[in-house]
């Protein structure tokens, strides 16, 4: 066996009130893809940050190619050939693709920057990832998926020996993802060691050689991929088997709750019509960029529709002055795909839950602090928000618990129609099952749920019907009987 590239022994890291890592051992071999798995809060991010020099461990040894390293900093990590692709992008929106890729390192001629070469090489770097993007385009004009690929290209350009990929595929389409996997395999064959973090368990079998699972800051085991079936991994991650990830109750479809006719948003959505019934979970599936996000936002009054009408319980809800406040009054709630668009990070749980209560209040309206407190405690208990601390700011909760806060918000506001845009994006397996269970219970109580998802498995598990979106319009519909992973992908591409 080749000498390890990276050898961590008995790493400990303590944060105020939390033991983030406890005696974690971890090795990375040259030429392997090592998947790092665990629920949110299990310590994956902390470990990644220690390896990339952002955090210092409290104790433990850290060896790179056999040499013990102390006081690793991000700069030193880079010199050692360690590179990290962030989950959150570290790009500069106002600079061009080429400038971002070569940030701080642009090729130069004697007198100035060698733009032709920079652009040529940037184009080539993107082409290796299988995308054609004009390298002079401003980054902010790209889609999230394209930005993610630029981020990856930027990291690869430094030719690292140790590559950390933190959820690199969260915004990618299937084709882009396959292409990325090819690149990863090529790097692996050149002897690069790759640490791969993902919430998509199905990806692990496609790409990983070994799997390490963290739980509550401890390493629960490192196993070769041959032994790592999905059930095994899930059991290791949550400490128990997940009996049913998709607890979809059978609900009789009620009266129409939301009727959409010809909804059109300039350049985004074209002529969208559908009916969502009480107690129904209506799926929406499409590849990245098919317009799902805009549909959610337009239904909630965050994007202006140029044509079309929205009826809630038979009454016209949309008009020229349609706004989130009107949508909320009509009984809609929005679970946005990015929780950073939903939560106010430095407010505590209660104010985050009660925010929409203010939607159509006069400024001098007195806050219902007693009701807010009671509601907060009730939902912390009912939704098992963990840690159960009402006075903690939203930013300190894990993704799954933040999502529960958002759900509690709409439940407490009395929303009867929930628009869920990727409701489980970036949250761990255990919390996903909880969110689905909750959506199931809400449907049982008659809530109408529009569930936008790019995970076929979720829709197969949860949706009563699924609309297929492509290029900003609805191109088909699959019933629960017709629904399968293959059918969805076939219909959408």
């Amino acid at each position: 066996m080749a000498a390890p590239l990276l050898e961590l022994t008995a790493i400990n890291k303590q944060f105020p009130g939390v033991r983030a890592l406890a005696d974690v051992d971890f090795t990375l071999l040259p030429g392997e893809v090592h998947a790092l798995l665990g629920e949110n809060g299990a310590g994956k991010s902390t470990l990644v940050k220690i390896i990339s020099g952002i955090y210092q461990p409290d104790s433990g040894t850290f060896r790179v190619r056999g040499a013990a390293i102390s006081e690793l900093s991000p700069v030193k990590a880079q010199q050692l050939g360690i590179a990290l692709v962030h989950q959150e992008l570290s790009l500069v929106p106002a600079l061009s693709v080429a400038e971002n890729i070569f940030l701080g390192n642009l090729p130069r001629t004697a007198a100035s920057i060698d733009w032709p070469r920079a652009n040529r090489e940037a184009k080539q770097a993107m082409a290796e990832l299988g995308v054609k993007i004009d390298p002079t385009r401003e980054l902010r004009s790209l889609s999230v998926a394209e930005q993610q690929l630029v981020e990856i290209a930027k990291t690869l350009q430094r030719q690292p020996d140790i590559l950390l990929l933190d959820e690199p595929t969260s915004a990618l389409s299937d084709a882009e993802r396959s292409r990325l996997f090819e690149v990863i395999r090529a790097l692996r064959d050149r002897g690069v060691g790759i640490i791969y973090i993902s919430h998509h368990l199905s990806e692990i079998a496609m790409i990983a050689d070994r799997v390490t699972v963290l739980r509550d800051g401890r390493n629960v085991g490192t196993i070769p991929i041959a032994e790592a079936s999905q059930e095994t991994i899930v059991r290791m991650m949550v400490g128990r088997a997940l009996s049913d990830q998709f607890p979809k109750p059978a609900v009789t479809r009620g009266a129409p709750a939301l009727v959409v006719e010809g909804l059109t948003v300039d350049g985004r959505l074209r002529d969208i019509s559908f009916t969502l019934h009480q107690g129904e979970i209506l799926g929406v599936f499409g590849l990245m960029g098919a317009g799902q996000e805009h549909l959610a936002r337009a239904l909630f009054g965050l994007e202006r529709a140029v044509a079309g009408r929205i009826f809630v319980n038979g009454e016209a809800a949309s008009s020229n002055t349609y706004s989130p406040s009107r949508a909320i009054r009509a009984g809609l709630g929005l679970i946005a795909r990015d929780r950073r668009q939903s939560l106010v990070p430095m407010l505590t749980v209660g104010p985050n839950i009660s925010l929409p209560w203010l939607a159509h209040r006069q400024p001098w309206h007195k806050l219902e602090l007693e009701r807010e407190k009671a509601t907060t405690l009730q939902f912390i208990k009912e939704l098992d928000i963990d840690p159960p601390l009402p006075h903690r700011e939203a930013v300190y909760f894990s993704g799954g618990n933040q999502q529960k806060i958002v759900l509690a918000r709409w439940m407490s506001t009395g929303s009867r129609i929930l628009i869920c845009d990727e409701p489980t994006r970036g949250i761990d397996v255990g919390a996903k099952a909880e969110v689905f269970a909750l959506l199931g219970r809400l449907a049982e109580r008659g809530t109408a749920i529009l569930m936008i998802s790019s995970e076929p498995k979720e829709l197969v598990g949860m949706a009563d019907r699924t609309l297929i979106m492509r290029n900003g319009t609805i191109t088909g519909e699959l019933s629960r009987q017709e629904l399968s992973h293959e059918a969805l992908l076939r219909a959408a591409s």
């Binding site: 909320i328 668009q341 407010l347």
Partner: protein, 350 residues
């Protein structure tokens, strides 16, 4: 999530208490700094802890403190209001002119006006000036800094036009119609109730009102929401534009109150009064722990911040430090406190 055992829950609760205690200690930073400053000055100067001296500090600080209440609202929203001192001057000048001079408005003789009516109009002018700022910022998406920088100059210009560049009341030779300011206004600037300066009482009333609005009204909550995450506030149905306009209207109203009281203290108004005080109101707010990036802060901290600046200036005076060095010291304190605050925030945020 794995179910917590009762033990884990108890531990979590304990951790929470510990972390809250730490938070409280960190948040009390400005208060502790103020107490330390007072202790040091008391040791260095025998005159400092004298009640008369402290009440003088309160009177001198009142103007900035009142502006800073409005500034706190603005900064929690993530904005900044450079026009507060100019708004104060404009309101005070309009009130002074209306009270003391014969004014022709559209051919209708208006003055000298009933002083109470003049003050009400002056307060409306302040709120209107703020509304103008808020409208420009909310409607056209112009950065607060630029919009209020422009407004600052604009309002000073209007104040110069209103007063003709002269202090009001003007005792112009040959005109003779101009009277003095009414007694009750002069009393508001220098009088006492039970030994407490009216100005200090005014500051307390304004600050407490501001604090109550922030804590207990939909408007107050909206300010934190819009300042903490504008997108999230919008997606929760909060009217972001209206909130911004109201914030600036409030700030303008505070400025008008401050300006009219300052006029009482100085016995006159002029177009350039309070110049530079907008920066001190910002400094007070930030020293008091309100986050310049929005979403966090409060009036209590701002009052502590204003007190720190006031006490520091007074103490240095008593110690015979030259005014030049006083400026250096005040600037250094502002930077030091904000650096410490940033450090604290990073600690809390891990």
């Amino acid at each position: 999530m794995i179910k917590d055992s009762a033990q884990d829950l108890a531990k979590a609760a304990w951790d929470e208490r510990a972390s809250r205690l730490r938070t409280v200690l960190f948040r009390s930073g400005p208060l502790i700094a103020l107490l330390l400053l007072i202790a040091v000055l008391a040791m260095l100067s025998p005159h400092f802890l004298n009640a008369d001296n402290l009440l003088t500090v309160a009177r001198q600080t009142a103007f900035v403190a009142i502006l800073a209440v409005g500034q706190t609202f603005v900064i929690i929203r993530g904005g900044i209001d450079l026009s507060v001192a100019a708004t104060a001057a404009l309101s005070a000048c309009i009130v002074a002119v209306l009270m003391t001079e014969p004014v022709l408005f559209l051919g209708i003789p208006l003055g000298p006006m009933n002083p109470v009516l003049a003050i009400i109009l002056g307060l409306m002018v302040g709120a209107l000036a703020g509304t103008f700022n808020g409208f420009i910022i909310a409607r056209f998406g112009i950065p607060d800094f630029i919009a209020t920088l422009g407004a600052m100059t604009l309002f000073r210009g209007l104040a110069l036009l209103v007063t003709g560049g002269l202090p009001v009341p003007t005792f112009r030779i040959g005109v003779g119609a101009g009277g003095g300011l009414p007694e009750f206004l002069l009393w508001a600037g220098s009088g006492h109730i039970l030994g407490i300066p009216f100005l200090l009482i005014a500051v307390l009333v304004v600050a407490i009102t501001g604090g109550l609005i922030l804590r207990f009204t939909a408007f107050g909550r909206s300010i934190y929401a819009v300042g903490g995450n504008r997108e999230a506030a919008r997606a929760s149905g909060i009217n972001v534009g209206r909130t911004i306009i109201l914030i600036y209207a409030f700030s303008g109203l505070m400025a008008a109150i401050g300006g009219i009281l300052l006029m009482g203290r100085l016995s006159s108004a002029n177009a350039l009064m309070g110049e530079g005080e907008e920066l001190r109101s910002i400094a007070s707010t930030v020293i008091g722990g309100t986050n310049l990036f929005g979403g966090e802060g409060g009036v209590f901290g701002t009052m502590i911040g204003a007190a720190i600046l006031g006490v520091l200036g007074n103490g240095l005076n008593l110690l015979g430090v030259s005014p030049f060095w006083q400026r250096v010291a005040q600037g250094a304190v502002i930077i030091l406190v904000v650096v410490l605050d940033q450090w604290r925030r990073n600690r809390l945020r891990r």
